[in-house]
């Protein structure tokens, strides 16, 4: 019996394990029925626990699910809302997934979303109606991505140079980002016409991302989809994506093979931060149009859960983000129809992610 087996730890890197035995394609080609059934059972268990909690709060434990479906998907306009909210969640989720390839834990999605929104606000307010809309859209998106990249880059640099644990530094940076945003909202960018509600001055009409398909959806959705696809291809096909996986799987082997591990660490954090920053900018320019406290609504943390739930595989992260976005939106319905606190959906999200951790879905982990 090896030492690791006794300790109950599995040192085989998830990414390599995945690459070898269950690539995305083979999984769909030959579904493991036992595995799927077990996963469904775990999900059901999470829902049952959630029902019990809502019953304790005095709601009908069955009707809440129909309320949630209506509030997130079925009622008029709600599907667009779900998709729009999934933009920052999916991009911040990819911001977790990309560094995870290199073995890094980026819990800073929330702060990176905030800095992206802050930078977009700064650019948007500076340009006003002085430049054509499309120039403004592009500038806001780029500014958001750069700001997010820099914010994550701090943690990446500290990790590479001083080996400061990036999960802790990114967490601390979230709180600092939030205070920076509050400062800007309450002082330099304060909307003089805001009726008591603290918020920034609004974007000029031309700067708001245009709607598409004659629906409430906006241009940001297309951009986010293109970027997500690009990230999927980059991780799958590019040398950089491969190098990340090697560095994350076995850093010592990576160093021996001459890979620039430190540069990979920093670049994966920069790319991740840029994705989340872009998400913050698109959410601001397409949906919010005014910076306000709580603009990110914990999307950064929901994204972290989504990425872990999807085991950092880009396409699954996007899919999980849409589902998690729907659940987050369903909170509104529960608040209005069932009189529950809207934050009750945080509990559901946590239970859905906790389920597999407790009951174990991962193959090979049980051996």
């Amino acid at each position: 019996m090896t030492a690791e087996a006794v300790a109950g730890t599995d040192l085989e890197p998830e990414s390599l394990h995945e690459a070898r035995s269950r690539s995305w394609r083979t999984q769909w080609a030959q579904p493991d029925w036992w595995q799927l059934g077990w996963s469904a059972g775990v999900l059901l268990a999470s829902l049952i626990v959630f029902s019990i909690i809502t019953a304790l709060l005095g709601s009908n434990p069955f009707s809440i699910y129909s309320t949630m479906l209506h509030a997130a998907v079925l009622d008029h306009g709600t599907l667009s809302q779900t998709l729009l909210r999934s933009i920052p969640i999916a991009l911040a989720g990819l911001a977790v997934a990309v560094p995870a390839r290199a073995g890094l834990v980026n819990v800073g999605g929330e702060g990176q979303l905030i800095m992206g929104a802050v930078a977009a606000t700064g650019v948007g307010l500076a340009f006003g109606s002085a430049v054509p809309g499309p120039v403004s859209w592009l500038a806001m998106a780029i500014a958001g991505a750069v700001a997010g990249a820099l914010w994550a880059g701090i943690a990446g640099g500290l990790r590479a140079v001083l080996s400061a644990n990036e999960s802790v530094t990114t967490l601390l940076l979230n709180f600092i980002a939030n205070d920076v945003m509050l400062y800007l909202i309450y002082q330099p960018w304060k909307d003089p016409n805001g009726s008591g509600q603290p918020q920034s001055k609004p974007l000029s009409h031309d700067e708001v991302l245009p709607k598409i398909f004659g629906s409430d959806l906006n241009l940001g959705l297309i951009l986010a989809a293109v970027v997500a696809l690009g990230i999927w291809l980059t991780l799958k096909r590019s040398g950089w994506g491969f190098a990340l996986r090697v560095a994350g799987g076995n850093p010592i082997a990576a160093i021996r093979a001459g890979l620039p591990v430190k540069r990979l660490i920093v670049s994966s954090m920069l790319v991740g931060g840029a994705l989340a920053g872009l998400g913050g900018a698109l959410n601001f320019a397409g949906v919010e149009t005014q910076l306000r406290p709580g603009i990110t609504a914990s999307f950064g943390y929901v994204a972290f859960l989504a990425s872990y739930f999807a085991r950092h595989s880009p396409l699954r992260v996007v899919f999980a983000s849409v589902v998690f976005s729907a659940i987050a939106l369903a909170g509104n319905g529960l608040q209005v129809k069932d009189g529950l606190d809207g934050n009750v959906v945080d509990v559901l999200l946590a239970l859905i992610v906790l389920g597999p951790l407790v009951l174990g879905v991962r193959k090979g982990r049980r051996a």
Partner: protein
């Protein structure tokens, strides 16, 4: 201004205890090889449970007991998930925090705006009358003294007793403990649970002693700061004590500076404690990397 410094130090010891208790708990947990970001959740759960129990029974002490239990429950969940299921430690901790965030938000809404009689401030006879030092160190609620006394106790248990040796062995080489007939998993589960109970106690210090009320997400990342403190303290008890007090003073300074009419924006001051922690983490980690308990290092490098 010397009056202001005194105020910042007095408040700093009170606020520092809110960090010190979970940080000592996190120290025990990490020495046993398990990092627990759920400490933030345990702190939050402890704060609400303590406040709710104190407000419905009228006794702050019942609240303190309830806070400890709530913290322990969070820790037990984390321990079962990571030790028995081998789940990713960082992910599990964050999920537990998110769960606690949601649960306290739902069940806490009834308690927003209420107040409880906080734990009384006990001036230690004699010592409390020392000029300047007396008010800073010896005029606090009982939990502050508990926190300060727990620091040497935790040190003694971890470094001078068999139990402590066992805990640290589990944090370095659990397989050695197993080979010599011990049960590393049980030790780890116990260490994480006890550590998290201390975080619950810290939550009680926050809600029923330091602040005296409850509001949503009132811990505001202090539990994460506690984890950071343990890392930059290189898993040494004395440095944990120092780091917690440093954060407490930074936190209290922000409000003292404001009260003295320093014209810096409130929100920039609010960021100060986190900046101080980040700076300390960066300045002091370089040397500490190799001091990390070995099993902990393995667990962290496995993430992803």
């Amino acid at each position: 201004m010397s009056n202001g410094i005194e105020q910042a130090l007095i408040g700093g010891v009170d606020a520092g205890t809110v960090i010190l208790l979970p940080a000592l708990g996190e120290l025990i947990s990490q020495r046993a090889g398990v990092i627990n970001l759920g400490t933030e959740g345990a702190l939050l759960a402890g704060a609400l449970t303590a406040f709710a129990a104190a407000s419905s029974t009228g006794s702050a002490w019942v609240g303190v007991g309830a806070g400890i239990l709530a913290g322990a429950a969070c820790g037990l969940l984390h321990a079962l998930v990571v030790v028995l299921r081998g789940a990713d430690q960082l992910a599990s901790g964050l999920v537990i925090w998110f769960l606690a965030l949601g649960m306290t938000s739902i069940f806490g809404s009834d308690y927003v705006g209420l107040t409880v009689d906080p734990l009384p401030v006990e001036k230690i006879p004699g010592l409390g009358s020392i000029p300047w030092l007396g008010p800073i160190l010896f005029t606090h609620d009982v939990l502050v003294y508990v926190g300060i006394l727990l620091a040497p106790l935790v040190w003694f248990v971890l470094w001078r007793t068999r139990v402590g040796l066992l805990v640290r062995a589990c944090g370095e080489r659990p397989e050695v403990v197993a080979t010599s007939g011990g049960h590393p998993r049980i030790v780890q589960i116990a260490a994480v649970t006890v550590g998290s109970a201390l975080a619950g106690l810290g939550g009680a210090q926050l809600s029923v002693a330091y602040v005296g009320n409850w509001f949503d997400n009132m811990t505001n990342g202090y539990g994460f700061v506690a984890v950071a403190v343990v890392l930059f303290a290189s898993w040494r008890t004395v440095r944990v004590l120092g780091g917690a007090l440093l954060f407490g003073v930074a936190l209290a300074s922000a409000s003292v500076l404001q009260a003295h009419g320093v014209s810096v924006n409130q929100y920039l001051l609010d960021a100060l404690p986190y900046l101080v922690t980040l700076f300390a983490l960066v300045a002091l980690t370089r040397s500490s990397g190799s001091d990390a308990p070995e099993a902990l290092r393995r667990a962290l490098s496995r993430s992803g």
